[in-house]
Structures are given as structure tokens and as C-alpha cells.
């Protein structure tokens, strides 16, 4: 005897959740996409892409409270728009600085000494967020807010997963240095 089971209760729930999420934030999604894409066609495609990405992360989304959920949607649209434009045109202003081998900072993660400083006191990420470049923010948001895997993020920026880890490491180091410097600067005042 063959057992074919058509499970639809769980998927129906997820579908309803997704439809409600879309209805709530559709204007935000479209508005944000328009900020990045002048072309209406691009805008529509970005929103479609975001919807699919949100569906793939539905189990995570269901755990988020309202603000975090709204933040996730907003960041997801921005991230997807940037990725879309990048794919469309490698010369786009957001993407000129995705060097495969950036050499402005060493490849290593923070040293133990710096990590100990970190234990003491630093400025918050919020305070230095605007000092980071668009590319840096893209990577940090992709990893920590959207919770993309190395492979997903690497595919978005068009590099290997190993290079992605290197880039992330550099960005974290850069951000931490800024946080430490900013806090030191505040102390001096």
C-alpha cells in the first residue's frame, strides 16, 4: 500500500502569515524599491524577489516581534535592490568597491588585545553605523539581520564563500575600530 500524504494545514498557516505580512508592508516594500530602482520594471522585479526571499525565511520571520520584523522587511528590500542593481550593472555606484582582495586592513580578525578593549567599553554600532560604507552595511545586514549563509551572501556579491568570510572579517574589524575610537573620542570630551 502506498501512503501519499497531502499536508496542507501547516503550509496554509504559513501562506496566510506571508499574505498578511505582504499586505502590511507592501507599500513599504514598493516605496523602498523605488528609492533604489528608477525603472518601474526593476522595482517590480525587486519586490517579487523580496517576496520569495521572505518566504524562504518564514520560520525565522515568525519568531520576530513587530519592530524586528519591519526592520527585516525593510533591510531585505534594500539588500535585494542593491543586489539586483549590481547584477544589472557592475558599474553601479554601490558596487565599485567590492574588491576581491581588499588590502586596506589585515586579513585577520581582531587581536586578543583589541578584544579585551572591547570588553571594557565601546560606542554602540548605532553610533558608528553611518560611518560605515554602503558595502560594509550591506554585508553586516546580510549576515546579522537577514541571516544569510556565507554561500547566499557570496552569491549576492559575486565572490567565493571564502572571500566573503574574509570581507566580513575586515568589515567587522573596521566597525570595531570605529566603535573603539568613537568611544575614546567621547571620553576625551
Amino acid at each position: 500500500m502506498i501512503a501519499l500524504i497531502s499536508e496542507n494545514v501547516r503550509t496554509s498557516d504559513d501562506k496566510d502569515f506571508m499574505l498578511a505580512l505582504y499586505n502590511e508592508y507592501q507599500r513599504l516594500m514598493y516605496h523602498t524599491a523605488r528609492k533604489y530602482c528608477g525603472d518601474v520594471y526593476d522595482c517590480e522585479e525587486v519586490v517579487q524577489e523580496v517576496v520569495l526571499k521572505l518566504i524562504n525565511k518564514i520560520s525565522l520571520l515568525r519568531t520576530l516581534e513587530e519592530k524586528a520584523l519591519a526592520g527585516y522587511v525593510s533591510v531585505a528590500v534594500r539588500n535585494t535592490a542593491i543586489t539586483w542593481l549590481r547584477k544589472k550593472s557592475r558599474e553601479h555606484k554601490f558596487f565599485v568597491n567590492w574588491p576581491e582582495e581588499a588590502n586596506d586592513l589585515p586579513d585577520t580578525e581582531l587581536g586578543i588585545e583589541e578584544t579585551l578593549i572591547l570588553k571594557e567599553k565601546t560606542a554602540s554600532m548605532l553610533e558608528i553605523w553611518d560611518l560605515l560604507s554602503e558595502e560594509d552595511r550591506f554585508l553586516l545586514e546580510g549576515r546579522y539581520i537577514l541571516q544569510y549563509s556565507d554561500n547566499e551572501l557570496a552569491e549576492m556579491i559575486g565572490c567565493k564563500a571564502s572571500s566573503l568570510r574574509m570581507k566580513l572579517s575586515r568589515v567587522r574589524r573596521k566597525a570595531l575600530k570605529l566603535m573603539i575610537e568613537r568611544d575614546g573620542g567621547d571620553d576625551d570630551k
Binding site: 501519499l4 502590511e24 539581520i145
Partner: protein
């Protein structure tokens, strides 16, 4: 990487996760405020075409997920089935040889009702492979075939319209199918001269029947489609 380095890396990662959570919440505050403003702004309305397309994308994505799940379960079931077939073959061979009339299709339907679903089990003892190609004799206005696929023991087609309403038509060899019957209305009807079971809930309608002549189960699962429309599809499918 040494153990110490590994721990420090985990520490940094956790530190960033906490810091980025603040960024996400700040982003969320702005996003909620902006959403409220956009809801009041008539110029911020999303074009109908984009809205429809997104809703359709959501409907389709979940339908595809459901199909994948079904396919996966079917595959697991097929492996079980192959063992059962072997056992049946071993025990029935002598009977078939001695009594040719036993070659006639013998199919029993067993219903097992649970709190949330009903399991329709079809037991068959037959050495004829059924024809599984689906022919839709009637397609409701506005619907198109959005999916058409099959496995060796199951074929399905999915019809959709722009509003995201779906009619899923499945033709499969006798097996067992679990159908959500919680708080559903169930009635016995007749489709193409065969006894069929119609299961309806608000916004959902399903019908299942066994075509004993073809030795095939037909299962139609619809969402946001009038029951009569779904039954019209059922009456004309082959």
C-alpha cells in the same frame, strides 16, 4: 585555527549579533513609521498589477512547497510499497495461477478518521499499470495550467487564475491519501458514475474518488474556487 582563536571569533560574532539587533530594531522603528505614513498616502499605493503578481507568487510558492512535500512523502511511501508488492507477489502467485478470475481488479477503500484528517486508503491487487496522463476536459474561465508534472505513480496539474485561486488535479495509482477534514463538511456524491467524497471548508474544496475501471484515484484540491466550478473540472477530467 586554535581553540582560543575560535572562541574569540565566536565572541566577536555574538557581539555583532547583539549590536546588529539594535540596528534592526532602529530600522524597524523607521519602517513602521514610514509604513503608517505610506498607508495614508494615496500616491503610495502599489500598482494593482504588482499586487496581483506578488499575491500570485505567494500562492504559487506555497503550492510548490506542498507539492514537494507530497512528492517526498510519495517517494518514501513507494519504497514501502515495493516491499509490500514483493510480499503480495509471493503470496498471490499460486492463487493467480490456479484461479484466473482472481486477476480481476480487487480494490477496497478503507477510511480511517482522525481528529484533524481522514486517511483514504485504497488497497489494490492488480497487475495492470494504469494510464496516468491527465486530460482536462474543461478549464474554468480565467484559469491556466501553471504546473504539469508526474512521477511514475502519480501525475498532477495545477490550474491558477490571476487572483491566486488554485485547482490541483492529481491522478495516482491506488494508495492512501490523508486529507484535512477537521471542521469540514463531508458528503458522498457521484462523479463520472463513481462514488466520490466531497470535503468542503470555507475557501477550500476537495473531492476524491476511485475509478475502478481504470484502477486510478482522482483527487482534486481547490482553494478559493466555487465548489460547483471544482466539481465541473472533476466531471470532465480523465
Amino acid at each position: 585555527m586554535s581553540r582560543k582563536q575560535e572562541l574569540f571569533e565566536q565572541y566577536i560574532d555574538a557581539f555583532f549579533a547583539v549590536e546588529m539587533d539594535q540596528i534592526a530594531l532602529e530600522e524597524g522603528r523607521s519602517a513602521i513609521n514610514l509604513t503608517q505614513q505610506l498607508k495614508k498616502d494615496p500616491n503610495a499605493e502599489v500598482p494593482k498589477a504588482v499586487q496581483k503578481r506578488c499575491e500570485k507568487t505567494i500562492q504559487k510558492a506555497f503550492l510548490t512547497q506542498r507539492r514537494k512535500k507530497t512528492g517526498h512523502i510519495l517517494w518514501r511511501a513507494l519504497r514501502v510499497a515495493s516491499i509490500v508488492v514483493l510480499l503480495l507477489a509471493a503470496t498471490m502467485t499460486l492463487s493467480f495461477a490456479a484461479f484466473p478470475e482472481l486477476r480481476m481488479t480487487v480494490i477496497n477503500m478503507i477510511l480511517e478518521t482522525y481528529d484533524t484528517h481522514t486517511e483514504f486508503s485504497f488497497e489494490e491487487k492488480n497487475d495492470v499499470s494504469p494510464e496516468l496522463e491527465i486530460t482536462l476536459g474543461w478549464i474554468p474561465y480565467g484559469f491556466v495550467v501553471s504546473e504539469d508534472d508526474s512521477t511514475p505513480d502519480c501525475a498532477w496539474k495545477c490550474l491558477e487564475n490571476v487572483e491566486g485561486a488554485t485547482i490541483f488535479v492529481e491522478k495516482t495509482t491506488p494508495n492512501s491519501i490523508s486529507i484535512d477534514t477537521e471542521d469540514a463538511q463531508i458528503e458522498e456524491i457521484e462523479i463520472q458514475g463513481y462514488e466520490a467524497t466531497l470535503i468542503t471548508k470555507p475557501g477550500e474544496a476537495r473531492v476524491i474518488w476511485l475509478n475502478e475501471d481504470e484502477n486510478i484515484i482522482y483527487f482534486i484540491d481547490s482553494e478559493d474556487v466555487p465548489v460547483d466550478t471544482m466539481l465541473q473540472v472533476a466531471k470532465n477530467v480523465s
